[in-house]
């Protein structure tokens, strides 16, 4: 695609307002002024600080859950397993069958609404702290830093000609990345096939070819996204990043630079004390730590993932200078328009949180969550599918009777084996031939053929309605009532 056909032509940098305190979230306004300009490799500097700690806490929490949960046993099986073979989803005590697809869709809707709510209140905290893209990028960057050193060392290494040292450092980095990526791919597959079985298969070199394929596929995916593409995923590929403008409003939390206090920026040289000068010393730390390589001092930009690392960087600089923190801080557009760097009193904070959009999202969310919970709690833990046996629709049997054959599939969605009693009603004189008591294992299903006979004389030719009642022996309220039809061919 030629650059003039690309979505959202970039205004030339000069046209961007220089000192506007708030720039509405714009299309990519990058330093090179070109939406799809060749990417400048970003080598962020590492930084310590409050928000960096929060980010790392989130890395630990999310990854302990991801890598660990697959190994957690529950009632003699894997606690969370999307069993593709048996077509059953286990989420702790909850067993979902294909018939329960509505629950899964509800779960998705709940997550989406939750994301809307969080975005409206707190801006892109999802991006900065919880999105797998950010989390894996952080982990991969950590490996890179351990092996190749911090920003300046890495930039030197990039520029250096290939040497034995560079070669071994690169090999070590890519080897470590590949190991982490493979483990991630293995864990991913372990959510769809019991992970202990997969592990045993991998160790004995007997894993199925599709399992290996998906492990490698997901590993490659992780490696490329977290190792190489990084911020480009957020900038060019992520729909959420493009969509956020709709969820933002002047009360959403954003990372912003207090230009009133910071400008005019510049270093403090001796002999210039008298000059009016802002608090920003133009050390560029905020730019160097930014994983997306932007300058927050230009205002809110669409690339900013809200990781708040520039806050940590600037706070350190302000601490060193003995000036108050918060030249870069979390703020809202509304606070800034009021000429303040951030909300000051708790009243303002509450007013910022409680507003129609948030109330709307919250009540929608509450409504759907309670509906979900209600549906789950009142769910009958048994299901029955009735299929007529097509091979032998209806036939005459001994004693002048008509027989119809049905295929019943009985699914026990509870966590214990159950016995059920089958009865029919609605058709006078009809009787079940054969077994009427059926036992189904925990979270299991059983297919059984069922023959129903009626005296031929008592029925007019044609189709008749018949009901199957399935009743759990141990619990009177666990029952299903299903309709079927009975054919009298003559």
């Amino acid at each position: 695609m030629s650059s003039n056909a690309s979505p959202g032509n970039t205004p030339p940098v000069a046209a961007a307002p220089k000192r506007a305190r708030v720039i509405p979230i714009a299309e990519v306004v990058s330093d090179d002024g070109e939406l799809y300009a060749a990417r400048k490799k970003i080598q962020p500097r590492s930084i310590k600080g409050r928000f960096n700690n929060v980010r790392w806490a989130m890395v630990w929490i999310t990854q302990l859950v991801f890598y660990g949960l697959a190994w957690l046993p529950w009632n003699g099986r894997q606690a969370v397993l999307f069993d593709l073979l048996e077509r059953k989803f286990y989420i702790f005590g909850l067993v979902l069958w294909p018939q329960d697809v509505v629950f899964l869709s509800l779960l998705l809707i709940i997550s989406a609404l939750g994301l809307f709510l969080v975005t409206a209140v707190a801006g892109r905290v999802w991006c900065g702290y919880a999105c797998p893209q950010s989390v894996y990028t952080e982990m991969f960057m950590w490996i890179e830093r351990r092996i190749e050193g911090d920003r300046s060392a890495r930039m030197k290494l990039d520029a250096a000609p290939m040497s034995l040292r560079k070669f071994s450092l690169r090999t070590a980095k890519h080897g470590a990345w590949a190991t982490l990526a493979l483990w991630t791919g293995f864990t991913f597959v372990g959510y769809f096939t019991p992970i202990r079985e997969v592990a045993a298969e991998v160790l004995t070199w007997s894993a199925g070819s599709w399992e290996i394929f998906w492990m490698l596929f997901y590993a490659a995916f992780t490696y490329v996204f977290a190792g190489h593409m990084r911020e480009q995923v957020c900038k060019y590929m992520c729909p959420y990043a493009r969509f956020q403008g709709v969820m933002f409003d002047p009360d959403s939390l954003i990372v912003s630079y207090d230009a009133t206090r910071g400008e005019p920026r510049g270093s403090r040289r001796k002999g210039q004390e008298g000059k009016a000068i802002g608090d920003c010393v133009d050390c560029e730390w905020c730019v160097q730590v930014c994983p997306t390589g932007i300058d927050i001092r230009k205002g809110l930009q669409y690339e900013c993932i809200g990781c708040a690392l520039c806050i940590d960087a600037c706070d350190q600089v302000m601490d060193k200078l003995g000036r108050p923190r918060g030249l870069i801080a979390y703020s809202t557009e509304r606070a800034q328009l009021a000429g303040k760097p951030a909300h000051e009193s708790w009243r303002e904070v509450v007013a910022h949180i409680v507003r129609p959009r948030v109330i709307l999202y919250t009540s929608l969310l509450a409504f759907i969550v309670s509906g979900f919970a209600w549906a789950l709690l009142t769910r009958t833990p048994v299901k029955m599918n009735i299929m007529r046996d097509r091979a032998s629709l209806a036939r005459e049997v001994e004693g002048g009777k008509i027989e119809n054959v049905y295929q019943l599939r009985i699914m026990n969605t509870s966590e214990a084996p159950r016995r059920f009693l089958l009865e029919i009603e609605g058709l006078p004189g009809a009787a079940i031939e054969g077994q009427r008591e059926i036992e189904v294992e925990a979270a299991g299903s059983r297919d059984i053929p069922m023959r129903v006979q009626v005296d031929a004389e008592s029925l007019t030719p044609g189709s008749h309605v018949i009901y199957f009642n399935l009743q759990a022996v141990d619990a009177p309220d666990v029952r299903v009532h299903e309709k079927a039809s009975f054919m009298q061919p003559r």
């Binding site: 695609m1 030629s2 060749a38 990417r39 899964l104 590929m237």
Partner: protein, 79 residues
């Protein structure tokens, strides 16, 4: 983002990947792979193979559509 080919690849492959994943989830949550027929015969592959092939089939279709859209968007006459 690097040169045109890689960019086009990212723009086409990624949205189609996500849509294919969604289509796969919806399709196979309502249809059991073992009840599928291929050219009049019941599908003989293992379920995992069917799921995987299904996914790539979806991805192929959504990818073709994305590619076409990208191409059309590029050829869009300037207004």
């Amino acid at each position: 983002m690097p040169g045109g080919g890689a960019r086009l690849f990212a723009l086409v492959s990624w949205p189609s990947f996500m849509v294919a994943a969604a289509a796969e989830a919806v399709f196979f949550s309502v249809i059991n792979p073992q009840e599928l027929y291929l050219l009049g015969e019941p599908v003989g592959f293992s379920p995992v193979a069917t799921y995987s092939i299904g996914f790539f089939a979806f991805w192929g279709v959504t990818g073709a559509s994305s590619l076409l859209t990208a191409w059309l968007a590029e050829k869009l006459p300037a207004r």
